[in-house]
């Protein structure tokens, strides 16, 4: 195996999918010669041409709808949002059309479209370019929402999304694009709907996604020195959600912390807490459930405030320590 960055892994998935199936094409703003705002499409336009790597006008509603329409008519479109925040302009086509078409039409059509969603804070881009909106979309039946944390999963899950018969939104945290990791060669699929235990531990279960997996792993390493063993569950898929893996882990560790970058209230952590509270794992809990999420504010510009707006390693360490030591 060789190391690739997260962005390179996504690029490789696109390359493989377009090579294998000529119905696959990608649309987006500045994805051609510019190579994409985060460099994911890179040189693909030179390999596959402008008809399959299409620079679009700045028109999120129109292009999202065009992707949905093309999917219904037998193509395999991938739409790159330059920033997932701009999906706000395309909500209608994603939520009212893509998500519901198959159901409304009595199961007679498929909508195999993929929306690529660069998300997250940490780049100083402020309130309209830094959000983590995955929970919005996960609230909508008919959509699938995934959020890989490693380059290997990014590739395998993007390939799975492209081959999936239903609409899939893949959230790509912008700070992950440059991280490196081992990535298998060639074609493989990482199943949608399966969480992954990224680190085993006996004292507390952390359920996290995307960049928060990395922060949780860092925190786990620090706490290990104090004799606290943290289990980290990498959610990978927000809808469908892997209830089984979460419940099994909580039964083992007897404590649950949900860590996510999206706004804390009514976010992913609310769902995970509720599903554990509703399950047989409830009886195993030795402490209240803990949620660490984004601040109840837009993402601010000032680096000091931006850091304060999302969970950081130091805060995670302290919260987990308190949880395990029975201080909450």
């Amino acid at each position: 195996m060789r190391e690739l960055s997260f962005a390179q892994a996504l690029h490789e998935a696109l390359d493989i999918a377009m090579e294998a199936d000529e119905r696959v094409f990608i649309m987006g703003e500045d994805i051609g010669v510019y190579g994409g705002a985060f460099g994911v499409t890179g040189d693909l336009v030179h390999k596959f041409g402008e008809d399959r790597v299409m620079d679009t006008p700045i028109a999120e509603l129109g292009t999202a709808g065009a992707a949905v329409g093309a999917a219904v008519a037998g193509s395999r479109p991938i739409l790159e949002f330059q920033f997932s925040d701009f999906s706000g302009l395309a909500m209608e086509q994603i939520v009212n059309q893509a998500a519901k078409m198959r159901y409304m039409l009595g199961g007679k059509v498929n909508v195999p479209v993929v929306f690529r969603m660069p998300c997250g804070s940490g780049t100083g881009a402020a309130a309209q370019h830094s959000q983590s909106l995955e929970a919005w979309f996960a609230h909508v039946p008919g959509l699938k929402v995934i959020e890989p944390s490693t380059p290997a999963d990014a590739k395998g899950m993007l390939l799975a999304a492209i081959e999936d018969p239903d609409p899939v939104l893949i959230f790509e945290h912008k700070l992950l694009y440059k991280i490196k990791g081992d990535v298998p060669e060639g074609h493989y699929l990482t199943p949608i709907g399966k969480a992954h235990v990224a680190r085993e531990g006996r004292d507390v279960t952390v359920v996290a996604a995307a960049i928060m997996v990395h922060k949780a792993l860092e925190a786990a390493e620090i706490l290990k020195a104090e004799g606290i063993e943290v289990e980290v569950v990498d959610l990978r898929s927000i809808r469908p959600i892997d209830t089984g893996t979460i419940i099994a882990s909580v039964k083992k560790t007897t404590r649950l912390a949900c860590i996510y970058e999206g706004v804390k209230t009514l976010g992913i952590g609310a769902e995970i807490s509720a599903l554990v509270a509703e399950s047989e794992a409830f009886d195993y809990l030795d402490a209240p459930i803990l949620r660490l999420g984004g601040a109840e504010s837009p993402i601010p510009y000032s680096p000091i405030l931006e850091k304060a707006a999302v969970p950081q390693v130091e805060g995670i360490v302290e919260a987990l320590r308190n949880l395990v030591k029975g201080r909450i």
């Binding site: 006008p57 402020a126 601010p300 510009y301 000032s302 000091i304």
Partner: protein
């Protein structure tokens, strides 16, 4: 009458722009163009030196449009601006020192450090703000014009947007609303030939954004966006029309950004020759030359304007560097008008 070489300039002197603006007003316009240029050069330099983070979109080369549009506006008129908005902001009356403070994420900044370059606003001077969403200001300006009309004021709302933004659905909906409701709004498209890397001939099926105006039954005017006189004259006509209650106008300023789209642009989609061609049409020397040729200014006047602008920029920069950092506990301040539980 003698046949002095002044003849041609007398003709030019009769242009409404030079006939209707006092020497002081022209001086102020030139000063603002320099301020915008120097502000952005300093901002760029700060970024390179690691004094600020995030990204920024420079309007270097587009100053005649920003200042030509705003110079005749009242404080009570509104503007909505874009991600490339430093010029609009200074044009409408913002002070460089508070803009720099925003860049450095300080409490003294126009947005108290919450917004950064892409969100600078100054409601005090009628500036409803830059916008991180392309086309985001189009419906907002339309709404501001609606309020002006409801309140029976004779102010106007001015909406800056790019060629790229004109391909968003918001453009169509906004212009249609303003036309059917006869709103006092002036839509100003700063057509710099590109939406990020995509040229207008790859994103539009007509050569000019103004060609779309007839679909809304409103005047569509094309001007040389690098010539401040052209811009300001078209704007004066549109503003008067709006103030009289006759409805919206679409002005298209043909211009060019000589810097990349943002900090990460490698200019792969355009040629050096094209950039150089436009640099030779830099709006600032163009304006200075007209002022000198017409004998309105002598070189010493221009030097004084430059020195004045330079001092304001340097003072502003130093003021901002010494500003107050926000404290983490304040991250949720100002989310609501009143604290909620």
């Amino acid at each position: 009458m003698n046949s002095s070489p002044k003849k041609a300039t007398i003709g030019k002197n009769q242009r409404p722009f030079y006939a209707n603006n006092s020497a002081a007003a022209l001086k102020e316009a030139l000063r603002k163009m320099h301020l915008v240029r120097m502000f952005e050069e300093m901002a760029e330099d700060s970024y390179i030196r690691g004094l600020t983070h995030g990204t920024m979109h420079l309007s270097i080369g587009q100053e005649a449009s920003a200042v030509g549009i705003t110079m005749g506006l009242r404080k009570t008129d509104y503007i909505t601006s874009t991600h490339r908005g430093h010029g609009h902001c200074i044009g409408k009356g913002a002070e460089a020192k508070y803009m720099f403070a925003e860049f450095f994420g300080k409490e003294e900044g126009y947005c108290k450090g919450r917004g950064g370059s892409m969100h600078i606003a100054d409601p005090e001077t009628g500036n409803l703000g830059a916008n991180g969403i392309v086309g985001g200001g189009l419906p907002l300006a339309t709404g501001a014009a609606l309020a002006i009309k409801q309140q029976k004021r004779d102010d106007v709302a001015v909406c800056f947007f790019g060629d790229g933004a004109s391909n968003e659905g918001a453009f169509h909906e906004s212009l249609n609303l303003a036309a059917v409701w006869k709103l006092p709004v002036v839509y100003v498209c700063e057509n710099n030939g590109y939406g990020m890397s995509v040229s207008t001939d790859r994103s539009m099926s007509v050569p000019n954004v103004a060609d779309r105006a007839p679909a809304y039954n409103m005047p569509g005017v094309i001007v040389d966006g690098n010539n401040i006189a052209d811009v300001a004259e078209a704007m004066a006509v549109a503003t008067e029309r709006a103030r009289r209650g006759e409805g919206p106008t679409l002005i298209e300023c043909k211009t060019y950004r000589t810097r990349g789209h943002s900090r990460s642009d490698r200019n792969k989609y355009r040629t050096k020759e094209e950039i150089e061609e436009w640099k030779a049409r830099d709006p600032i020397p163009l304006f200075e030359k007209e002022l000198l040729d017409m004998g309105i200014f002598v070189q010493a006047d221009i030097d004084a304007v430059l020195a004045n602008a330079k001092a304001e920029i340097e003072d502003g920069f130093n003021f901002a560097r010494g500003g107050t950092d926000p404290v983490p506990e304040d991250v949720t301040r100002d989310v609501y008008a009143r604290e909620i539980a």
